[in-house]
Amino acid sequence: MRGLPIFAYISVMWILIIIGGGLLVFIIAPISITGYGKLDHILDSGVKAVISISLVVAWIFIMSKIKNWIFQRKVSH
């Protein structure tokens, strides 16, 4: 079937989005930084932002590797 690897790629992206949501809700969201007074809120948001951005970078890296694995031979042909 024409485009089958792209359907597979979309499916993988969908699964990674759902797994990423689980990581955010269960691991990153509960993180709480205390003991720095007024800075607590800013530090808390900053740490969560850094972890979230790292997750996005990891997601892009994984998608890029999967893309190469699925498509590289096809394109070079």
Partner: protein, 331 residues
């Protein structure tokens, strides 16, 4: 003024469809008269196609959304109207004058500001199966990012006759269904015009195109889609329905490794066979795109490539609808 939602839905859908259906032929004549035409590079003969179709798309959206605002008077509809209109002017500026690769993302980020100023958002991200996260500060940054991403994503898939409008029809109707599934009926109503405007425009944009949407049309559609995702609180679902277009942008950016305009590409990802079918290039300097991947298994006509993209759109739409049923369901 109160009226049953289904009746309001029918009224605004008819208004959106009819406005674009009847204004587009007038726009085609007006653009042709002013010689505002561009070459259709995927045809064997020299065919000049009027561009941009953005004004008729915006007319359909404005007339139907303003009608809806008269009925519902919600700040969400107002935010959709303003952000979409600003995105149209960003696109129109790019249609009239060649602007740098960074202009559109930055200008579209500014177009997102009315959503923040009007407070037409909920600063939480809702995920399927697992619930939501409260991100009050981060969400503001997310709003600023979403509109440029959706705008440019639709713009980047506008490469073949009928693809942008046809794909947008599929994605926006899927989004409407998802909004109904999660019981967000008012924003579901506000999303209806996007599907019907895209459908009416597709009549003139399909192979062989009688008009191209241009940046003003593509950015208007994309920005409205992003606005609905934000005010309807369906950011993740909206991203899933848009996955084929997201893949196209992702492939393009990961191969050129910087933000540039399509017109700045040195090697074309697609070439033509002798019988003028589309064929993936063997030039390694050319960027990888969705169309190039589809053509990797052999040449196809422009219409056949478009239908494969629509099948991918329908598949993503189905995943988005499945995802909407997973919202609020905790394991």
């Amino acid at each position: 003024m109160m009226m049953d939602r289904p009746i309001i839905g029918i009224i605004i859908s008819v208004i959106a469809f009819v406005t674009v259906y009847f204004t587009t032929p007038l726009l085609i004549k007006a653009l042709a008269k002013r010689n505002m035409v561009v070459k259709d590079y995927n045809k064997p003969q020299t065919i000049m196609v009027p561009r941009p179709g953005g004004p008729s798309i915006l007319a359909g959206i404005l007339v139907s959304e303003i009608t809806l605002y008269v009925f519902l008077q919600s700040v969400e509809i107002l935010a959709i109207i303003i952000t979409t209109s600003l995105a149209f002017f960003v696109g129109l500026a790019d249609d009239r004058k060649v602007l740098g690769g960074w202009f559109k993302p930055l200008a579209l980020a500014v177009a997102a500001v009315p959503i923040i100023l009007l407070g037409a958002y909920v600063p939480h991200l809702e995920f399927p199966l697992f619930g939501m996260v409260k991100i009050p500060e981060l969400y503001l940054a997310l709003i600023i990012f979403i509109i440029p991403i959706t705008g440019n994503t639709i713009n980047s898939i506008d490469v073949l006759n009928g693809v942008a409008s046809g794909f947008m029809t599929i994605a926006s109707f899927a989004l409407t269904i998802c909004l109904v599934v999660i019981h967000n009926y008012d924003v579901a109503l506000a999303s209806l015009p996007l599907g019907f405007v895209s459908l009416a425009f597709y009549k003139y944009h399909k192979v062989p195109s009688k008009i191209f949407p241009g940046d003003s049309g593509a950015l208007t559609l994309g920005a409205m889609y992003g606005s609905i995702a934000i005010v309807g609180h369906v950011e993740i679902i909206a991203a899933i329905a848009l996955l084929p277009a997201v893949i196209n942008s992702f492939l393009f950016l990961s191969s050129v490794k910087r933000i540039i305009e399509h017109r700045q590409i040195k090697a074309n990802p697609v070439v033509h066979t002798e019988d003028f079918k589309l064929q993936a290039t063997t030039d390694k300097a050319a960027p990888v795109t969705l169309v190039r991947l589809i053509l990797a298994q052999g040449p196809l006509t422009e219409k056949e490539v478009g239908f494969i993209i629509f099948k991918l759109g329908l598949f993503s739409a189905a995943l988005a609808i499945i995802t909407s049923f997973m919202m609020g369901v905790k394991p």
